[in-house]
């Protein structure tokens, strides 16, 4: 097969072979997929786009048999099919290349390509390694990566490992190949090889669903674009009717954008205060994740960090907080360099982190409310100043006053923290750190998984903390809430600062542009 297929992707007009009808899927507190219907025709290349949490991955997971919808059906060649597990999907010719690599590092490239597909056998028992290598070599050559089938896959760079994953999808002779952010770690050359492969697949009548945040790629390779927003499918058009600007508008949604701006104006949120710099980060570097990040934070400022999932925001703040190793970077608090190597150092310097995954990284779930609140400042409740034994009475008083101040809804301060709702657990961890008198508070996705009413409470609380002189770093994947709350927003893309917006400049389209960025032109 040659790599000369440069024709436009073929938008087949034949009838659909795969029909998705009215899928509905809830996750706790969210309607992840809201009556989504979609037809796929042979040879189509369908782009699937939407913000983080718009429901793209859930739809893909349902198609892959990794999760079950509550309502709706999937029809293959007009007949309803039930996908109970990923193997069901593979058997029916639906093939998936997920964003996360799933390779077995100890096995060779060829063994990984054919993993789970039933290796070719000799005499019915012995694996026919020669034939397996030949088959793998054929598909790998289509991808043009020059990857030796015998090499142990763990020794290859990530980009080549991803090509192997794509090769696995090709070798199954699938009818539909779903590529989820396939070009994340590929070079331009590898990406253009991949695009040739996609075009060849299309010519052969194989349909492709291409999920990507890189809108330029979407516009270049797909024949049709489907936009999802808040779990619904909001737009479905041939690609030629889109450009980057209209696509961003569709992804954002005008209504949401207007609501966020309205909130901003009604709460009177403006530019950052002209106060002293409290935190100063210079040249932060985490190998492979965060590159040359520098910024500063003023007293009473709410600094938003925008970015797509995987852009390196969480990695960035974890490195600042000392939760992960950093390879370079100077951190100054109130003008003086602080040495932060573990979270305890950061806390001692007056910085606290409220992690995104509060159930697993914030709470001690078996501990009661009281003990979770006092955990970060246990030394303040000693029976006597020099005796390292916590006083039950002092702990109780402290916990009860925090429960009262934050209006944490709990039967008692002796209730296990695991029994509280998401919003109250968030308040619990906040209460723990309010007791520490920290001056810098980092909120990583504080409204993740809590419902709309509780979200507004979190915004108001953050504003009040800032008004009280705390400096806030607010990470969010929901651009709307950054627009509604922040004095200044830094956008992070692929581990680097991709743009900054101050005061009235903060609008959803601008943040989206910073976060999506522009990919280099692909030949």
């Amino acid at each position: 097969m040659t790599l000369t297929a440069t024709t436009e992707p073929i938008a087949d007009v034949t009838s659909p072979f795969l029909e998705i009808r009215d899928l509905v899927k809830h996750y706790p507190g969210v309607l992840a997929v809201d009556h989504v219907s979609l037809d796929i025709r042979p040879g189509e290349v369908v782009g699937l786009v939407g913000k983080n949490g718009a429901g793209k991955s859930t739809v893909i997971k349902i198609l892959a048999g990794a999760t079950q919808p509550e309502e709706g059906s999937i029809l293959l060649d007009g007949k309803e099919i039930h996908l109970h597990n990923p193997h069901d999907a593979t058997l029916r010719g639906l093939s998936f290349v997920h964003q996360e690599l799933s390779v077995v590092p100890e096995l060779s490239v060829a063994e990984n390509v054919e993993l789970g597909l039933g290796y070719p056998k000799r005499a019915g028992v012995l694996v026919d390694f020669r034939r397996m290598r030949r088959q793998s070599r054929e598909v790998l050559e289509q991808l043009g990566g020059g990857i030796p089938p015998r090499a142990p896959i763990g020794a290859l760079p990530t980009a080549q490992q991803r090509l192997v994953m794509i090769a696995r999808a090709l070798v199954t002779k699938a009818r539909l190949v779903v590529l989820d952010e396939p070009t994340g770690s590929l070079t331009d050359e590898e990406t253009s090889h991949l695009f040739s492969v996609i075009r060849n697949l299309s010519v052969d009548g194989v349909a492709v669903i291409y999920v990507s945040h890189r809108l330029e790629e979407i516009l270049q390779i797909t024949s049709r674009v489907v936009v999802m927003r808040d779990g619904s499918l909001v737009d479905d058009r041939p690609t030629e009717r889109y450009d980057t600007k209209t696509l961003i508008e569709e992804i954002t949604g005008e209504d949401a954008s207007a609501t966020a701006l309205e909130r901003r104006h009604s709460r009177g949120i403006g530019s950052p205060p002209d106060s002293d710099v409290v935190l100063d980060v210079e040249g932060l570097e985490v190998a492979g994740k965060v590159h040359d990040i520098s910024f500063s934070l003023r007293k009473g400022e709410i600094l938003g960090i925008a970015g797509l999932v995987g852009a390196g925001r969480t990695e960035m703040v974890r490195a600042i907080f000392g939760a992960d190793h950093r390879d370079a970077g100077v951190i100054r608090m109130n003008g003086e360099e602080v040495s932060i190597h573990k979270p305890a150092d950061a806390i001692a310097a007056g910085m606290v982190l409220l992690p995104e995954d509060r159930r697993n990284q914030g709470l001690i779930r078996d501990f009661n409310v009281r003990r979770n609140i006092t955990l970060g400042t246990l030394r303040d409740y000693r029976v006597r100043p020099r005796l390292p034994m916590p006083s039950t009475r002092k702990e109780r008083d402290a916990a009860r006053s925090t429960v009262g101040d934050l209006e944490i809804k709990t039967p008692s301060d002796l209730t296990p923290a695991a029994w509280l709702s998401g919003g109250n657990q968030q308040k619990l961890i906040l209460g723990r750190w309010l007791r520490s008198g920290a001056s810098v508070m980092i909120f990583d996705e504080p409204t993740h998984g809590i419902d709309v009413g509780a979200k507004e409470e979190v915004y108001i609380l953050i504003e009040q903390l800032a008004a009280d002189g705390k400096s806030i770093i607010f990470i969010s994947s929901e651009f709307g809430e950054l627009v509604g709350v922040c004095h200044r927003v830094i956008a992070v893309r692929e581990g680097r600062i991709a743009g900054e917006s101050v005061g009235g400049e903060i609008t959803e389209p601008r943040l989206l542009e910073h976060c999506y960025g522009h990919v280099p032109d692909i030949a």
Binding site: A348, N360, T415, L420, L461, Q464
Partner: protein, 366 residues
């Protein structure tokens, strides 16, 4: 405070008071709710204690004349050479298990400690204080190596302490030439002339005292048990231990020195095992081959049984103490009924399985 105004309407709160009554309360060391205990909850919480009481009653009825008479308690139930290693090693193990770690090396550490002290006194003619200090020195070394490799380097506690199980026994064999060593005493009751004058103190450590005719090791174990309970349930370090056991990453992000406290756990295990080794060889007036082996699994049994007693799935010092007593009662009770050792082992295994199953079922109910 400014955030008083934060609205109290948290609409995603699913918990209603009617649900609360189905949730049973938790033990003190976690300080959970004590409210609304139904009889079913009480049964779930104290069921194993009831079983324990029933077993004691049964043995008493069957062996009225001897079981649990005063003499029987002091000389059989609290027999230093069996009871003290069980309860002290169980307490040591509680520290590491409560933090989610594992230790297999303490049995060998106990043997190594006994071997070191006795070999130094008898084979190398060292005074008793040198022998005891050197033994604790060895224990500090072992505890630090375990702790550093596991909590700082990040090695698996199972593998490192399994290596300790084998390696420490090897070192003991080197130092004792793999032979039992007897501390020479003229009279078996511990009186009379010793060939090495001050080893009388060493042997005397293991002998009985006037008070209630209990062994000194039992008295020492009693005080250590209290100290361990205070450490785990009343101090900051103990709170941090439970937090680490609950969620290592959350504990680290809360600023707790997780690695240091985990290492401390292994240090405590080695030190307690060394003490047990010294007391045991003192009482036996010499070393035995494979001294600690018998106590390795019994200590685990005591701790896991203890975790089923008060709050399902939660290791605690009071639980371990009750677990050790329970195992001991079954042991001596069945012996008093002249049941073969084989059946005693099978009975202990059965009780351990039932105890752990109860705690698993309780955990799942939550």
């Amino acid at each position: 405070m400014a955030w008083k105004s934060w609205s109290s309407k948290v609409s995603d709160d699913h918990r209603t008071s009617s649900e609360d009554s189905t949730e049973f309360a938790a033990a003190d060391h976690l300080g959970a709710s004590r409210q609304r205990l139904s009889w079913r909850d009480l049964l779930a919480r104290y069921g194993l204690l009831l079983v324990f009481a029933g077993v004691i009653l049964l043995f008493k009825l069957l062996r009225w004349e001897i079981f649990l008479t005063k003499n029987y308690i002091t000389s059989v139930l609290f027999l230093s050479s069996s009871f003290v290693p069980l309860i002290l090693l169980g307490i040591a193990l509680t520290f590491v298990l409560a933090m989610g770690d594992f230790d297999l090396s303490f049995g060998s550490m106990m043997g190594l400690a006994g071997g070191t002290a006795v070999a130094l006194m008898v084979n190398y003619s060292q005074p008793v204080w040198v022998a005891i200090l050197a033994t604790f020195g060895v224990a500090v070394g072992v505890g630090l190596v375990n702790g550093i490799l596991i909590s700082y380097v990040g090695a698996s506690s199972f593998v490192i302490t399994l290596a300790g199980l084998v390696g420490l026994k090897g070192i003991e064999q080197l130092w004792t030439n793999n032979r039992p060593i007897t501390i020479p005493v003229t009279n078996q009751d511990g009186t009379g002339e010793f060939i090495y004058g001050d080893s009388a103190f060493y042997v005397g450590l293991g002998r009985n005292v006037e008070l209630w005719n209990l062994g000194r090791p039992v008295i020492i174990a009693f005080f250590i048990a209290i100290a361990a309970w205070v450490l785990m349930d009343k101090t900051e370090v103990g709170r941090y231990m439970y937090a680490i056991g609950g969620n290592k990453e959350a504990a680290r992000l809360a600023g707790i020195p997780v690695a240091r406290i985990r290492a401390l756990g292994f240090l405590l295990v080695a030190l307690i095992a060394a003490l047990v080794g010294i007391l045991n060889t003192g009482q036996l007036a010499g070393t035995r081959l494979n001294l600690g082996d018998a106590f390795l699994l019994d200590a685990y049994a005591a701790v896991f049984l203890g975790a089923a007693v008060f709050r399902p799935g939660q290791f605690s010092i009071p639980g371990t103490i009750v677990g050790a007593l329970f195992l001991r009662v079954i042991d001596v009770g069945l012996q008093a009924m002249q049941i073969r050792n084989a059946w005693i082992n099978i009975a202990k295994a059965g009780i351990l399985i039932i105890g752990v199953l109860i705690s698993q079922i309780m955990l799942r109910r939550r």
